[in-house]
């Protein structure tokens, strides 16, 4: 294995139910990319034999979730890692049943790509719609539809083409930029890492090839400059008496020394003096870099403020229209009081109206609801006690997202995407 230090990081999510082969697919990716220790493979072989299987059950490699189910522990997002010489991958592995919508949303929030699994024998199911809807709602930039279990439909081109056209007919109604399809058998390994000899009619690339080559450099917003201030760095040392740096992570755009900027909420103007990290100057800083910025003028800036370009500013408002995924046992009602966390800013907030709820299986709107339960997705109007600086989630996933916290229990109870 060659050692590459300059490869990119791709985060992807897999949502799936018990029988659609999700665990087998992840096991196959880990196994065929040689990310599994020998002793782990031995353990899986032994346990497959013990169960009387004819083949090595790769799904056992990601067995955590199954044992949890038996023990009745909350089924959750599990993160898994593998690398090839081209890229490093982080998988957010989430269960796909409707009662785990909140976990799918959590896994999807940081993903560049979502894998949607379709059983070739069954075609599009309710859960296909649900997973695709969540991927589009969370604006995952890339979708990889894997038509799995091709070995059980005699590697039939017709079956595959039918599923692809059914999916295209449905996905055209959703907001997804990049959808790719691949016929696979996770169990047999067809088109996962190795090209399948059983499907000569398929001229596209393997799943892993897609994962290694999908263009992700523009998944972040590099147009609209947004720098939420995390903290102010003041060393108070003799050699750095006057240093005043603004630490934070760039959420959008490209910042350079000399840029004319405005600080929100004060509205003061200044110029970027330096962008640096650890004393090293950075010529161009962009998302998702963590940097320390200094300005030409001494301005009173604190955590929660946002540095932006003078001629390109976010919305500033106390009223927000938000698609919310509710994540807590206690339902959400009108006039519920919450703490809203957005970028590095925190504010008291209240639900002013529940507009409608979305049926995540049919995408239909359900009007006149007065309660949002756990795993529901709904459009709500929220008013915050202070003005927030935000973009639509469509424009920027970082400045367009927020979480809602219960001020009594301190739990994270909701995830919101600003419309």
């Amino acid at each position: 294995m060659s050692i590459q230090e300059n490869n990119q990081l791709l985060r992807f999510t897999t949502a799936g139910s018990v029988d659609d082969g999700k665990s087998t697919l992840i096991g196959r990716l880990l196994y065929d990319s040689k990310s599994i220790f020998e002793d782990q493979i031995e353990a899986v072989k032994t346990s497959s034999e013990k169960k009387g299987f004819d083949y090595v059950d790769l799904s056992l490699l990601t067995d955590g979730l199954k044992s949890e189910r038996e023990q009745g522990i909350t089924i959750d997002v599990a993160y898994r890692y593998f690398a090839t010489p081209k890229r490093k991958f982080i998988i957010a592995d989430t269960p796909g049943h409707i009662q785990y919508t909140r976990n799918m949303v959590t896994g999807a929030s940081t993903a560049n790509l979502a894998i949607i699994l379709i059983d070739a024998r069954k075609g599009l199911l309710e859960q296909t719609y649900r997973h695709s809807f969540i991927a589009s709602l969370l604006k995952i930039p890339h979708l990889m539809v894997c038509v799995n279990k091709m070995d059980l439909v005699d590697y039939s081109e017709e079956v595959y083409n039918k599923i692809v056209s059914d999916y295209q007919a449905f996905s055209s109604k959703m907001d997804i930029k990049d959808v790719q399809f691949v016929p696979i058998s996770a169990l047999k390994g067809d088109n996962v890492v190795e090209r399948s000899e059983n499907m000569p009619w398929y001229e596209g690339s393997t799943l892993l090839y897609h994962l290694e080559n999908v263009h992700i450099a523009s998944d972040f917003n590099h147009v609209d400059c947004r720098f939420p201030v995390q903290m102010v760095i003041r060393p108070h040392t003799l050699e750095n008496q006057d240093f005043r740096g603004y630490a934070g992570r760039i959420d959008g755009g490209i910042f350079k020394p000399g840029d004319e900027v405005t600080v929100l909420p004060s509205g003061f103007n200044s110029k970027v003096k330096t962008v640096e990290l650890n004393g090293e100057q950075i010529d161009e800083a962009y998302a998702p870099m963590s940097v320390t910025m200094t300005l030409e003028d001494e301005i009173d800036i604190s955590r929660g403020d946002m540095i932006v370009r003078r001629n390109n500013q976010p919305k500033v408002d106390q009223d927000l229209e938000v698609m919310v995924c509710w994540m807590n046992q206690r339902p959400l009602h009108n006039r519920t009081k919450l703490v809203l966390k957005h970028t590095t800013k925190e504010a008291q907030a209240m639900v002013k109206a529940i507009q409608y709820k979305v049926d995540v299986n049919t995408l239909h709107r359900i009007e006149d609801v007065d309660e949002i339960k756990m795993n529901d997705i709904a459009r709500v109007s929220i008013r915050s006690a202070q003005p927030m600086f935000f973009d639509s989630y469509r424009k920027n996933r970082l400045t367009g997202s927020l979480i809602l916290v219960d001020p009594n229990t301190n739990e994270t109870v909701g995830a919101g995407m600003i419309i």
Binding site: N6, L9, Q230, P288, R303
Partner: protein, 301 residues
Amino acid sequence: MGSYYLPHLKELEAEAIFVIREVVSQFEKPALLFSGGKDSIVLSHLAKKAFYPAKIPFPLIHIDTGHNFPETIKFRDDLVENLGVQLIVGSVQESIDKGRVREETGVNASRNALQTVTLLDTLEDHKIDAAMGGARRDEEKARAKERFFSHRDEFGQWDPKNQRPELWNLFNGRKHHGEHFRVFPISNWTEMDVWQYILQERIELPSLYFSHERDCIVRDGVILANSEFIQLKPNEEVKKMVVRYRTCGDMPITGAVLSEADTLELIIEEVATTRTTERGTRADDKRGETAMEDRKKQGYF
């Protein structure tokens, strides 16, 4: 317009620095748990970068079992001096002397389990409300679901059923009085990422990580350094061996591996091949490493 993307080590670094800065912003009295191992050394390097030119605005906490490699202690003291940071040492020996814990006896006696009490006492004594550690999700199955911000109740316990969902880069550190958080800024790093980062940043490591000759014994297939903390069994003999350590724990329980790798480049090559092919033939070192991991699960990290 050029291509604006970060190489993976830069992205992981940016994420970790963001998390460390969130901790300082959201908590009253954070600290960094320093074990002397490579992961916590990387963590202190990241902390230095996060606040430069200011000094790291929180103390390092080291739980000293009294059974450390002398190299670890020396390295710790040098690092603390270089960083100009406060060091808090929680002493297991003191916990034993105070009667808070009782020392194990016998040939395989170790101070593994005892550290948890010392750690929790130290956090309480210093009113630490966020303790950062270098644990990673790729270390083992249960850790695969650990959060960056991991909530602990007033007894310092972790309730896997009651973890907060974490979305985007929004971390919720709100808590009630008496509760605290464990925070893991390098959650998303793998062992390979850590080594590559050490190489890229030229981070100094204790000499234990590099190949050296040492007096060792082999016990239950694990290579252990001979030291005053080890009681030899009748059939055990001390041999000179060329070894290095993959983790840095207590002398009596940390297994070494036979290795000629004496540079970072060679270690990375070794880690890479170990991952793909060598692993099966190294049941010994695997066992040694699990012993180390179990210690972590019980509460050190």
